[in-house]
C-alpha cells in the first residue's frame, strides 16, 4: 500500500501524459478557441504517440550510452592505473558544463549532418558531463576510513568497487543521471530543428506557421514527459535529496 502511494505521483503524471498523447484529438474544441483563425488546429503530420515514441527512443538510447561511458570513464579515472587522467577528466567535465546544449547540438550538425544520429551523438556527449562529474564526486567523496577498512578486511579491488564504492556513491550518481536525462529531454526537442522527428516537431512547425495550437500541443506533451520522468527519478529508492 505504501509502495503504491510512493509511486502514485509519477504514475499520475504518466497517466496524464498518455491521456494527452492519445486524446489530443478530443481537445479540438479547446484548441479551436486558442487558434480561431486556422483551418487545422490539431497537429496531423504524425500522430502524437509516434512522436512520443521517437522522443523517448532518442533520449533513452543516448542516456544508456552516456551512463555506460560516463560511469565507466569516471570509474577508470579513479582506479590506480587511470589516476593520471583524473585531473583532466574532472576539469573537462566541469568546463563542459558551461557549453550550452543548443550550441553542442548546433556544432554536431556540421560534423555529423542532419537526422537522428547527430541528435543521439550530441545528447550522448552533453549527457556525459553531469554523469561523469557526479560519479567522480560520488566516488571521491567516500569516507577514506571506509575505503581503508574495506582494504584492511582483505576485499579485492573489484569487491570494493561493487560492494562499497558504487553503493555509497549511488545517490550522487543517480542525481547526475537525472540531471542528464532532464536536460536531454529538452535538448532533444530542439533537435526537431535539425531534422529529427519528435515532440519538438509540432512546436517548430507551429512557430514557423504561426499556429499557436500546435505549439501548445507540443509544449504540453514535452512538459508532461519531462515532469513524469523527473518525478520517477525522485521516487527511486536511492535518489538522495537534490
Amino acid at each position: 500500500m505504501t509502495e503504491l502511494r510512493r509511486w502514485a505521483v509519477p504514475l499520475g503524471w504518466l497517466v496524464l501524459l498518455l491521456a494527452a498523447t492519445l486524446g489530443m484529438g478530443q481537445l479540438e474544441g479547446l484548441f479551436r478557441w486558442i487558434e480561431a483563425d486556422s483551418r487545422q488546429v490539431i497537429y496531423a503530420r504524425a500522430d502524437f504517440a509516434t512522436l512520443l515514441g521517437r522522443h523517448l527512443l532518442v533520449v533513452s538510447v543516448a542516456a544508456v550510452l552516456a551512463i555506460l561511458v560516463g560511469v565507466g570513464a569516471a570509474i577508470a579515472a579513479t582506479r590506480r592505473w587511470g589516476r593520471d587522467f583524473l585531473p583532466l577528466v574532472s576539469q573537462l567535465a566541469s568546463i563542459g558544463q558551461t557549453f550550452p546544449p543548443v550550441a553542442v547540438l548546433a556544432l554536431a550538425v556540421p560534423v555529423l549532418g542532419f537526422g537522428t544520429l547527430p541528435i543521439i551523438v550530441a545528447l550522448l556527449l552533453y549527457g556525459l558531463l553531469p554523469i561523469v562529474r557526479n560519479t567522480l564526486a560520488g566516488l571521491e567523496g567516500i569516507d577514506p576510513g571506509v575505503m581503508e577498512a574495506a582494504r584492511g578486511m582483505g576485499m579485492s579491488g573489484g569487491q570494493i568497487l561493487r560492494q562499497v564504492e558504487l553503493p555509497l556513491a549511488a545517490p550522487v550518481i543517480l542525481a547526475g543521471i537525472r540531471t542528464s536525462v532532464t536536460i536531454n529531454i529538452a535538448t532533444a526537442a530542439i533537435g526537431a530543428t535539425v531534422g529529427a522527428s519528435n515532440l519538438g516537431d509540432p512546436i517548430i512547425s507551429g512557430i514557423v506557421n504561426g499556429n499557436t495550437a500546435y505549439v501548445v500541443q507540443g509544449a504540453l506533451l514535452i512538459g508532461l514527459l519531462a515532469i513524469s520522468v523527473d518525478s520517477l527519478f525522485s521516487r527511486l529508492p536511492l535518489a538522495g535529496a537534490r
Binding site: 583532466l88 550550452p100 548546433a106 550538425v109 556540421p110 530542439i190 507551429g206 505549439v215 509544449a219 512538459g223
Partner: protein, 386 residues
C-alpha cells in the same frame, strides 16, 4: 602536482598520439565551389604534399617525446610548443586557402581534423597547466598568441574562409545579435538576482514560503525551455491582444516578452537555491559567537553572514548566467533575437557555417562569463578561507 614524475605522462602521451592520428587521418579543410554545394575534403598531404605531411608530424612526436620522460622543464617546453601549434592552426588555414582555393566564389570550410586537433591541443594545455600549477591569469594569457594569430590570418589571407564570409555578409546584424543576446541575459539575470535574493530572504523567515517556493521552482526547472517558451506564447498573445498598455510596451506572444519571462523563471531556481543555501550554511558557531559578542541582528547579517555567503551566492550567479546564455539561444525560436537566430537560420538553410557563426560566439561567451565570475569568486574569498 608531481613535477618530477619518473614514468611517462600517459595523459600527454596518448593525447599527442591521438592528435597526430587525427591530424594525418582526417580532412583538415574542405573546399566548396559556392555557398550551396557541399565541399570536398582535403587532408594534410593535399596541401603540402606527402613529404610535407610527414614533416608536419614532427611537433606531435616532439610533444610525445617530452611526455616520455617528463620534468617540469620539459613540461614548460611542451607548453610553449602547444601554444606555438595553436597559433599555427590559423596559419594552416591561410596556407590551405592560398594553395587550394582558386575562384572568387569558392569557400574554405574548416574540417573535422582541425576541430579535433584544436580540442585535443586545448586538453593538452589544461593538463600541462595543472601539472605546472600555473595560475588562472597565466592560463588565459597563454591563449593570447593563438588569438592574435587568428586575427592576423583572418584579416590578411582568410577571405575565402566560409565562416568569415558569413560574418562579413552580416557584420552589422552580428553585432546587433550579440548585443541583443547580452541584453536579454543581463536583464534576465539581473531581475532574477533581485527577485532571488528577496525570495531567499523570505524563505529564511517563513518556512512555508521555503517549501512552496522550492516546489514551484523545481517544477519549473523540469519543464523543457522550448516547451515553456511555447506555453507562454498563448497567454501572452492573449494579453497583448486584450491589454492595450502591454501591447504598447511591445509585449506579444512572440519576441522578447515570453523569452524574458521564461529566462527569469529558469534563472530563479539556481539563484534562490544558492543564495538560500549560502546564507543557511554559515557555521552556526560563528553566528553564535557574533551574537554572544553583542552584535545586533543587522550587524550579524551585514558583517558576518552576508560576506561569508558571498562566494556561494556568486557561484549561483555564475551558474545562472551560463545557463541563461544557452537558453537565450533557444529563445531565438520564438523571435527573441540574439545569436540563436543565426543557428536556426543556418539549420533552416543547411548553411553550416552560419550555424557556427551563432554557436561559436555563444560558446565563447559562456566560457568567458564562467571564467570571469570564477575569478571574481576567488578574489572575494578572503585569505583563501573555506
Amino acid at each position: 602536482m608531481r613535477p618530477e614524475n619518473p614514468g611517462p605522462n600517459v595523459v600527454l602521451l596518448s593525447l599527442s598520439l591521438v592528435a597526430l592520428a587525427a591530424w594525418l587521418g582526417l580532412d583538415t579543410v574542405s573546399v566548396a565551389a559556392n555557398r550551396i554545394v557541399p565541399g570536398t575534403g582535403h587532408g594534410v598531404a593535399d596541401v603540402i604534399g606527402v613529404a610535407g605531411a610527414l614533416v608536419s608530424g614532427v611537433p606531435w612526436l616532439a610533444l610525445a617525446g617530452f611526455a616520455w620522460r617528463p620534468t617540469s622543464r620539459r613540461f614548460a617546453l611542451a607548453l610553449a610548443l602547444v601554444v606555438l601549434m595553436l597559433s599555427a592552426l590559423p596559419a594552416w588555414l591561410a596556407l590551405s586557402a592560398v594553395t587550394l582555393v582558386d575562384s572568387a566564389q569558392a569557400r574554405l570550410g574548416i574540417g573535422a581534423g582541425i576541430w579535433v586537433v584544436l580540442f585535443l591541443l586545448l586538453l593538452v594545455m589544461i593538463e600541462l597547466r595543472s601539472r605546472l600549477v600555473l595560475s588562472r591569469p597565466i592560463g588565459w594569457a597563454l591563449l593570447l598568441p593563438p588569438v592574435v594569430s587568428a586575427g592576423l590570418c583572418l584579416s590578411l589571407w582568410l577571405e575565402p574562409l566560409a565562416l568569415w564570409q558569413e560574418y562579413r555578409g552580416r557584420s552589422g546584424q552580428f553585432l546587433g545579435a550579440v548585443v541583443e543576446h547580452l541584453l536579454l541575459v543581463g536583464v534576465a539575470v539581473g531581475t532574477s538576482l533581485v527577485l532571488g535574493v528577496l525570495l531567499a530572504l523570505a524563505m529564511r523567515r517563513w518556512p512555508g514560503v521555503q517549501k512552496a517556493g522550492f516546489g514551484v521552482l523545481n517544477f519549473l526547472q523540469t519543464i523543457p525551455s522550448i516547451a515553456l517558451f511555447g506555453l507562454l506564447l498563448a497567454p501572452l498573445a492573449w494579453l497583448s491582444a486584450n491589454v492595450e498598455w502591454l501591447a504598447a510596451l511591445g509585449v506579444s506572444g512572440i519576441g522578447w516578452a515570453p523569452a524574458l519571462l521564461a529566462l527569469v523563471g529558469y534563472s530563479l531556481l539556481p539563484m534562490v537555491r544558492n543564495t538560500f543555501v549560502a546564507l543557511e550554511a554559515v557555521d552556526p558557531g560563528v553566528i553564535d559567537a557574533a551574537r554572544g559578542m553583542g552584535m545586533s541582528r543587522g550587524q550579524v547579517f551585514r558583517q558576518v553572514r552576508l560576506p561569508l555567503a558571498l562566494p556561494v551566492i556568486l557561484e549561483g550567479i555564475r551558474i545562472t548566467t551560463v545557463q541563461a546564455i544557452g537558453l537565450t539561444a533557444v529563445a531565438a525560436l520564438i523571435g527573441a533575437g540574439g545569436l540563436g537566430t543565426f543557428i536556426f537560420q543556418g539549420l533552416g538553410q543547411a548553411a553550416m557555417d552560419l550555424v557556427l557563426l551563432g554557436a561559436l560566439p555563444i560558446l565563447v561567451m559562456a566560457l568567458l562569463v564562467d571564467a570571469l565570475l570564477g575569478a571574481l569568486t576567488d578574489v572575494l574569498r578572503p585569505g583563501g578561507a573555506k
